[in-house]
């Protein structure tokens, strides 16, 4: 479904990805791990560009429109499903049927009572739930996330990640925690300094091996 061969990426003069070859097939749930600045986000966006229309994306920051309501922010996942006029009217007054659907998602995420407030009034964790809400409302089979639960406490993050992954057949997620990577994913790709330094199936790798990636060794 996704494949890169010997791909590189520069940001300005700096090379952020070197010689990346990887292919990901349907049904795989892939965790991208590695220290900050290893190139996880860059790899994620390279892969995203291959099927932008079919992916529910949950980017790291600036993911929300601050002053619109939580409802509108989640609804934005469905803009491409409806016509321009329908979307415009929804901006003035939410359609009852859509509001019903969006509140169901908000309830799953634990922000049902925040539906009509806006993200600028929410905590970091709550904002992250809204961003996940938009991804869920895209209703795609593929989920891409960049540290999607980093602002939640570990137990909540764990539960929510499991929930989101269960609603998608394929997923690629950059994640900081080796524990979550092992628990929820079928395949783990490790990056360091813009290169792939490990590519394992989750059943064949240990927590100690993964933790070593963060301490600089392999």
């Amino acid at each position: 479904m996704f494949s890169l061969s010997q791909a590189s990426l520069n940001h300005g003069k700096q090379r952020v990805l070197h010689d990346i070859s990887v292919s990901i097939s349907e049904g795989e749930k892939v965790a991208l791990i590695g220290p900050s600045g290893a190139g996880k986000s860059s790899l994620l966006s390279l892969l995203w560009e291959q099927h932008p229309a079919d992916i529910a994306l949950c980017p790291q920051d600036n993911a929300l429109v601050d002053i619109l309501s939580v409802y509108q922010n989640i609804y934005m996942g469905a803009l491409s499903r409806f016509g321009t006029f329908y979307n415009l009217l929804n901006l003035i007054r939410p359609w009852p049927a859509r509001r019903q659907e969006v509140s169901t998602i908000a309830a799953q995420l634990g922000i049902a009572d925040k539906l009509m407030t806006s993200p600028d009034q929410l905590s970091g964790g709550q904002r992250q739930r809204v961003a996940l809400g938009r991804a869920l409302y895209r209703k795609q089979n593929v989920f891409f996330g960049d540290e999607p639960v980093s602002s939640l406490d570990p137990a909540q993050g764990d539960a929510l990640l499991g929930d989101v992954l269960s609603q998608h057949s394929t997923a690629v997620v950059a994640i900081h925690s080796p524990e979550l990577a092992l628990k929820h994913f079928t395949r783990i790709i490790a990056l360091q300094n813009g290169r792939i330094v490990g590519d394992w199936s989750a059943s064949s790798v240990s927590l100690a091996q993964l933790s070593a990636i963060y301490s600089g060794g392999q």
Binding site: S45, W48, E49, P52, I55, L57, P59, N62, A63, V65, D66, I67, L68, S69, V70, Q72, M76, L79, S80, T84, N87, L88, L91, M116, T117, S118, D120, Q121
Partner: protein, 498 residues
């Protein structure tokens, strides 16, 4: 953005609060439409419009040295006024923590350049003194406030290392050098404003470009009027090319040399003007009751209708500016309409370079003398100015937008517009007080706002009445300024840097 402000009650988005606020302003503007004196005096505006349009593309000027001298005067007034007022403003800014300095600055900037001009004209006639003072007094007030804001936003680290240095030393070694680039760029922007003010003063008779523009328009010489207008636009557009920082001292010397005659200051005449002419006879006699009656009478006959008209024009023009800004800006943002933008920065720059009074004058020739030309002129000018800043803002933030942002109209309505809206409202509220000042001033064209009554009072040589009207205009301006500040704060809108 703050989360604890009044309208952030649970269960309401920030957007819905801002929409409610905007709706309030629209309702007020609709009510104002009923009060405002809006008429179409010319049943067939197209003929006049055609002649003006023809003039615009066939600019001619018979006497080039005369035009060059007018350009020289326009630049000289602006340059000298800015040089002096920036210095005075900086001094005032250093003591801005004193209440009386803030009150003084607010008072002198609340009176429009044209009103200062009309006032000083009674003493010094159409001289350099009148022109210079008319610009530099309000500009000193504006510089004081903005400089104080800029200095306050600097981080205190450097100055904290000084120990117990005197205030002047703390500013000279710490605050001012730290803020220098920002101060300088604001002075540069203000110089453009001063060029506009200087040109405008020509409408009341000073020998700047506005004088020739008004004369040509009045005589129906649209090609000559167009020549003046194009020269003025070129002058503003090319400021950065000819006003090199190193050449400024040279320009200042040249400006002093080119200034029209400056009459000697006649102290006793000036003293009589401010101690007697500006006040009603009854007050000079010490008759308090008759003074009260006089003020009450003038208030009912002149001030009251003038205030209502000015407020009505202001509120309508404010909403028109806002609507136009929101209509223009997406077409000037690369992120929203792609690289072929129907409204480039250049067109928006032209829109904001033409002084409101000139635009209003042209519209008045087309539609006749009602509030309509003033509203259109204020709306187009301020709409262009705000749209320019919003379009820049929209393009700048395009680099940090998420890759799966919506496209087309949905990108505008669901993402960019809500992201720009708080800044948009802040800018609009920031212009509110400016729009009011300009609405009042436009009365000199014959529109029934405060300026009309001020102008008539001066014509009747009733200085006491004119002065009363000017003071009332200033008070209205200060009230709107503080209302705007309060609304911005309540809605959690940060003050934008212009």
């Amino acid at each position: 953005m703050t989360t604890d402000t009044a309208h952030h009650r649970a269960g309401r988005s920030t957007a819905s609060g801002l929409v409610r606020l905007s709706t309030g302003f629209i309702v007020v503007a609709l009510l104002a439409l009923m009060i405002a004196d809006i008429h179409l005096y010319r049943p067939d505006p197209w003929q006049e419009l055609g002649r003006i349009g023809l003039g615009l593309v066939t600019p001619t000027w018979p006497d080039i040295p005369e035009l060059a001298l007018a350009v020289g005067h326009t630049v000289a007034f602006a340059l000298l006024a800015v040089a002096v007022s920036a210095g005075l403003g900086l001094l005032l800014a250093m003591w801005f923590h004193w209440r009386w300095v803030r009150v003084l600055a607010a008072a002198i900037r609340s009176v429009h350049e044209v009103f200062w001009g009309l006032l000083f004209m009674q003493v010094w006639g159409l001289s350099a003194t009148t022109g210079l003072l008319a610009i530099l007094i309000p500009f000193t007030g504006i510089f004081a406030k903005v400089f104080a804001d800029i200095l306050q936003q600097q981080r205190p680290h450097t100055v904290q290392t000084f120990g117990a240095a005197s205030r002047i030393n703390r500013y000279a070694y710490g605050w001012i050098p730290k803020a220098w680039p920002e101060l300088l760029s604001y002075v540069r922007y203000r110089f453009e404003c001063a060029l506009r003010s200087s040109a405008i003063l020509g409408f009341i008779g000073l020998p700047t470009l506005g004088f020739h523009l008004e004369t040509a328009f009045r005589q129906g010489q649209y090609s000559e009027a167009a020549a003046v207008l194009w020269v003025f636009l070129l002058l503003i557009a090319s400021v950065r090319l000819w006003l090199r920082p190193r050449l400024v001292p040279l320009f200042i010397v040249a400006a002093i040399w080119i200034l029209p005659e400056m009459p000697p200051v006649n102290a006793s005449f000036f003293w009589q003007f401010i101690s007697q002419d500006l006040w009603p006879k009854a007050l000079q006699r010490g008759d308090i009751i008759a003074t009260g009656q006089w003020y009450a009478k003038v208030f009912m006959s002149d001030v009251w209708p003038a205030l209502w008209q000015t407020l009505a024009v202001t509120q309508i023009a404010l909403v028109v500016s806002g609507v136009l800004a929101l209509l223009y800006y997406p077409f000037a943002s690369r992120w929203l309409v792609g690289s072929v933008r129907p409204l480039g920065r250049f067109k928006l720059l032209v829109l904001r370079s033409v002084p409101e009074l000139m635009l209003a004058y042209v519209f008045m020739l087309i539609f006749g003398p009602s509030a309509l030309p003033a509203i259109l002129a204020l709306g187009i000018h301020n709409g262009g100015l705000i749209a320019f800043l919003l379009a820049n803002n929209s393009e700048d933030s395009s680099h940090t937008q998420r890759p799966d942002s919506p496209t087309g109209a949905m990108r505008f309505f669901y993402q960019d517009l809500p992201q720009r809206y708080p800044a948009f409202l802040a800018l609009l509220f920031y212009r509110w007080e400016v729009i009011m000042r300009e609405s009042a001033m436009m009365g000199v064209l014959g529109i029934a706002t405060l300026g009309f009554y001020v102008d008539s009072a001066f014509e009747e040589i009733r200085f006491d009445k004119a002065f009363f009207l000017i003071v009332m205009a200033a008070i209205l301006n200060i009230v709107i300024d503080s209302l705007s500040r309060r609304l911005r704060k309540r809605a959690g809108l940060r003050t934008p840097l212009m």
